[in-house]
């Protein structure tokens, strides 16, 4: 079976070679990603036609343009080298391309067209919404949700479904000739320090990850439709943003729209599963039930959520004087939502108990920490990731012990395993870059006339894929009010930086630059 597949892959590669094509991994991966996004546009166009028929034309034309562009790119390009710098360029430019192309339906449907607002503002908001969708952030510039038809709203949800597991992982799964270097591509896109190989073949690993992800999405949808009874449309829409820990909802009041404990419980379960390592889920599915309890990161993940929820509920109950039941309901839901970097809100209105910007400052501080930390590696969530923080905490303790005993040899451990010095240094480097990005982002946003705490929340949230910010950009507010147009574009870039774990976007210019430099030399 494998040899047949290999032969097919070789034949496909030879076919590509036969045509005089441009050899570029970046453009080729990009073409596949663009074609796959067009599928969402066509499907949601059909939904739009069958339901509200408000934005059918916009979705259909977007689909045609996108598939045309993707197909022509695929035809004229062939995969090239897969060196580190090419990997970053491929992943980085692909995400930029799908973000821009993904904004097309919003632009054509005039979703953000408001009287007195120019086209550039409309374009900015469309790109912001698209970036927020694909990066699974969940922030929105929408002020009027009724401007979207059901199909367009579902397309918005679908962007998060694509972004959750990663569009490049999808490309690796369907492109056999990306076997060599495919792991690097996956690692560059996957959340976390490394990508677990579930099978020896990278494309098989990618397929299994996508299968697990799809199974989770379907399970949430079925649970939502069968148990508490939201419509099929709402069930499917929310299942996509829960499994991807994206946080979009077709309703302006997010999950507060349902005001149902059952919906919240199912979505919390979905978010918690989405925030755990998908390699663990696969192992559990194939029979290794004890893999969760053996994993030190998963244990820390559960502990973090439980402890944070307890602190938040405590502050809401004792500090803000909420009834214990209400405090527990809104406290646990929002903790899980932000602890898994989803960003759903449970506020039914601006003054409701679920609006966390009105909570005690300490409870909000816990949420801010959760936004920074994120969930597990190999999950659909964002943030620094628990495993990195575990290793860095051990590294920090070692540094302090070494200041007492300078010659001591103290290994850094994660669970019972010693972590290699190279990985520790890389994780420390990642953390330093992450903090510098936060610092740079907050200063830049405040210089663009945004409020201080709004900027802190927005930058930490954008890098961590969270969605709602703090202050005036809370869960019930649109980002178009507290942030200026340049600030929203800046945040769009930060969302992509955060989704791709910093390096691909920062280094995507390196490959073209080096190519030019080498040619000049």
């Amino acid at each position: 079976m494998k040899s047949v597949r290999d032969a097919q892959a070789r034949r496909a590669t030879e076919l590509h070679m036969a045509r005089s094509q441009i050899r570029s991994t970046t453009l080729h991966v990009m073409s596949i990603a663009i074609i796959s996004v067009s599928a969402a546009m066509f499907i949601t166009a059909l939904l739009e036609r069958a339901t509200t028929d408000q934005d059918t034309g916009a979705l259909f034309i977007s689909g045609l343009v996108t598939v045309g562009l993707g197909a022509s790119m695929w035809w004229v390009t062939a995969p090239g080298s897969v060196r580190s710098r090419d990997v970053f360029a491929a992943v980085g430019w692909t995400w930029i391309a799908i973000t821009v192309i993904g904004a097309l339906p919003y632009v054509l449907a005039h979703t953000f067209a408001v009287p007195g607002v120019g086209f550039t503002e409309e374009l900015t908001n469309s790109i912001f919404e698209s970036a927020s969708g694909f990066s699974c952030t969940g922030s929105s510039a929408l002020t009027d949700f009724s401007r979207m038809g059901r199909g367009l709203a579902m397309y918005r949800q679908a962007t998060q479904f694509y972004g959750g597991m990663g569009i490049v992982v999808l490309a690796v799964a369907v492109l056999p000739f990306l076997g060599v270097g495919g792991l690097d591509l996956m690692t560059a896109e996957a959340p976390g320090p490394s990508s677990d190989r579930l099978t020896p073949r990278v494309s098989e690993t990618a397929k299994r990850l996508w299968a697990t992800y799809a199974l989770l999405t379907v399970s949430i949808a079925v649970a939502l439709i069968v148990l508490p009874g939201p419509s099929v449309y709402d069930g499917i829409a929310h299942s996509m943003s829960a499994a991807s820990t994206g946080g979009f909802s077709p309703h302006s009041s997010s999950i507060g729209y349902f005001d149902s404990v059952w919906v919240e419980i199912i979505l919390m379960a979905g978010m918690l599963v989405g925030g755990a390592n998908f390699a663990l889920h696969w192992r559990a599915l194939v029979g290794d039930r004890g893999c969760y309890s053996r994993d030190p990161e998963f244990r820390a993940y559960v502990l973090m959520i439980v402890a944070s929820a307890a602190i938040v509920v405590g502050f809401l109950w004792l500090g803000d004087g909420m009834a214990l039941g209400t405090a527990a309901r809104v406290g646990i839901f929002n903790t899980v939502s932000l602890g898994t970097s989803t960003g759903y809100g449970s506020a039914t209105g601006e003054a409701s108990a679920g609006n966390f910007v009105l909570w005690a400052p300490a409870a909000q501080m816990v949420l801010l920490f959760l936004m920074l930390i994120g969930a597990s590696t190999g999950s659909t969530s964002g943030g620094v990731k628990i495993m990195r923080l575990q290793v860095l905490a051990a590294h920090s303790i070692r540094s302090i012990r070494r200041s007492q005993h300078p010659r001591a040899v103290i290994p850094v451990r994660h669970g019972s395993a010693a972590v290699s010095e190279d990985i520790v240094t890389r994780m420390a480097g990642f953390f330093v870059v992450y903090l510098l990005l936060i610092l740079f982002g907050v200063v830049s946003l405040t210089l663009m006339d945004s409020g201080f705490i709004e900027s802190v929340g927005a930058i930490v949230g954008a890098l961590g894929g969270m969605g709602p910010s703090l202050g005036e950009a809370g869960p019930t507010a649109s980002f178009s009010d507290p942030f200026s147009q340049p600030a929203r574009l800046f945040l769009s870039l930060y969302m992509l930086i955060g989704r791709l774990e910093i390096f691909p976007i920062l280094l995507m210019f390196a490959a073209p630059w080096r190519a030019v430099r080498d040619r000049v030399a």
């Binding site: 303790i397 480097g429 390096f503």
Partner: protein, 501 residues
């Protein structure tokens, strides 16, 4: 001298006097002696204005003076004390000074409650510009004593940064440049180094005081401001800091705040006539570039702010002093975030200032660049350079580990502040500002008025002040010791249970 590695042990010198090795006790004795000497001088000067306060202060100073002198004759310094002892010694000295300062405030009635006195004393000895007093109502001896706490705190911090930490962590980059290399040393021995640092510190204070006086400031104001400027303390004789002072006084303050935030190694080169080396110091250049950039950005962000005031505010933030010429907490958010970055970065290494330190910030930036390069070329061997030498991976690891702990402490501090009901912006600012020994900020105001905070809130700030002044090591080592004691106790309990079974 016999070299002993185990605890305090007896030693007999050539005159037959029995002395014991103990770094901690000798450090405390030194601190007590300095406290007593300074307080007695202030009591004598202050007797003109408030003899009652002066007498009480003198009485409080007598006991520690006697204990300090006796300790100095009884204990000798080890040649190479272990790191833990040095850190414990510095922390104990700081704690002893804080307790004595508290006693002075309580005995003289300057602070109405014990919590107020403890807070004022801790803020003084950690050179934080937060106060629970109205300085314009204080008598001369109390006003001078309050400034002297900052001066002494600055001296302790300086000796820790320039002499003590480099001797225990030789060659580490988190310690100022070149202390591991003989050519860069301030002095051949720690004792000579200590004398030189204190000599330079005292001389600069005197020059600063004369400069203030020459600009028309009162004698009392000149002494107080000289002591709090060179120590990067930030206490003022006026409730509104430098708001009502003249332009010349502000200019003097700006210059001396910048000097206070400069490395004493660089200042020593300047004193010795090695101007070229002083000017070529990369850390100094970066420090001045930060101050200049912050000033320019402040002028751009705050329309009514003059260049002089912007420079003053930037120098105050970068040197972590805390003096103010404007209610800058009402500045636009852009200006506030720039100031926050300046405060968090702090002054140069081996200076009286605090914060992350410019040298460490520079190395962390290099480390970030290094990491990006490694992502592109995983096999490339890329070295981080500092001061003409490549910094080893071990040193960088130590630095990042230390900074992660520092960052964690900022988070804990912010959470603790938020737990008392302070807003998010105010909590973050207060945590960063306290750990950098800046002291002022949104929540405390530009003039560091902490009278509106309750006692619990103020007491929460004290560990942060200690961490800011003497680095986070004492706090973390104390935490590690508690954890170790818990671990040992747990093991003991388990053994007992096992035996019973």
């Amino acid at each position: 001298m016999r070299f002993s590695r185990l605890g305090p042990g007896p030693d007999v010198d050539s005159l037959g006097v029995r002395s014991r090795h103990s770094y901690s006790r000798l450090a405390i004795a030194d601190g007590l002696a300095m406290f007593a000497a300074l307080t007695l001088v202030i009591a004598v000067i202050g007797a003109v204005d408030a003899p009652g306060d002066s007498l009480r202060m003198a009485l409080v100073a007598l006991v520690p003076g006697a204990v300090g002198l006796s300790g100095r004759s009884r204990y000798v310094r080890r040649q190479r004390p272990p790191a833990g002892r040095v850190i414990a010694g510095l922390a104990s000295t700081w704690a002893a000074l804080v307790l004595l300062g508290t006693t002075v405030y309580v005995v003289t009635g300057a602070s109405p409650t014990l919590a107020d006195a403890l807070f004022e004393s801790a803020a003084g000895y950690s050179t934080v510009a937060t106060t629970s007093m109205d300085p314009s109502t204080l008598s001369l001896p109390i006003g001078l004593f309050r400034a002297s706490t900052q001066w002494l705190g600055g001296a302790v911090g300086l000796l820790a940064g320039v002499i003590a930490f480099p001797s225990i962590m030789r060659g580490r980059v988190q310690i100022p440049k070149g202390t591991g290399r003989r050519i860069d040393r301030l002095a051949p021995t720690t004792i000579v180094g200590r004398r030189r640092v204190l000599g330079l510190y005292s001389s600069l204070t005197v020059v600063c005081g004369i400069a203030y006086f020459a600009t028309g400031m009162s004698a009392r104001g000149s002494i107080v401001h000289a002591m709090t400027t060179l120590s990067t303390g930030g206490f003022s004789d006026n409730a509104d800091s430098f708001l009502t002072e003249g332009a010349a006084s502000r200019a003097v303050a700006t210059v001396f705040m910048l000097v206070a935030g400069t490395s004493y190694f660089a200042l020593w080169w300047l004193v010795r006539g090695n101007h070229r080396r002083f000017v070529r110091s990369p850390e100094l250049r970066l420090y001045l570039a930060i101050v200049a950039s912050v000033s320019v950005l402040l002028v751009w962000q705050v329309p009514d702010l003059s260049v002089e005031d912007a420079l003053f505010t930037a120098a105050s933030a970068s040197s972590t002093t805390g003096l103010a010429v404007a209610e800058w907490t009402l500045f636009p958010s852009g200006a506030l975030s720039i100031l926050l970055v300046a405060v968090a970065t702090g002054a140069m290494g081996a200076s009286a200032g605090s914060g992350l330190r410019v040298v460490r910030a520079r190395l962390l930036l290099s480390h970030a660049g290094h990491e990006l390069r490694r992502q592109l070329d995983p096999q490339a061997v890329v070295a981080v350079h500092h001061g003409g030498r490549s910094v080893g991976g071990d040193e960088l690891d130590q630095l990042t580990g230390y900074q992660i702990a520092h960052f964690g402490l900022v988070g804990i501090g912010a959470f603790a502040m938020a737990g008392t009901g302070l807003g998010l912006t105010e909590s973050l600012w207060t945590s960063v500002s306290t750990l950098s020994t800046f002291g002022t900020g949104p929540g405390l105001g530009a003039f560091g008025d902490a009278t509106h905070l309750d006692a619990f809130h103020r007491l929460l700030l004290i560990p942060g002040m200690l961490a800011g002044r003497l680095s986070i090591l004492p706090l973390l080592l104390a935490f590690a010791s508690v954890m170790r004691i818990r671990h040992l106790a747990g093991r003991q309990v388990r053994r007992v249970f096992r035996r019973r079974r």
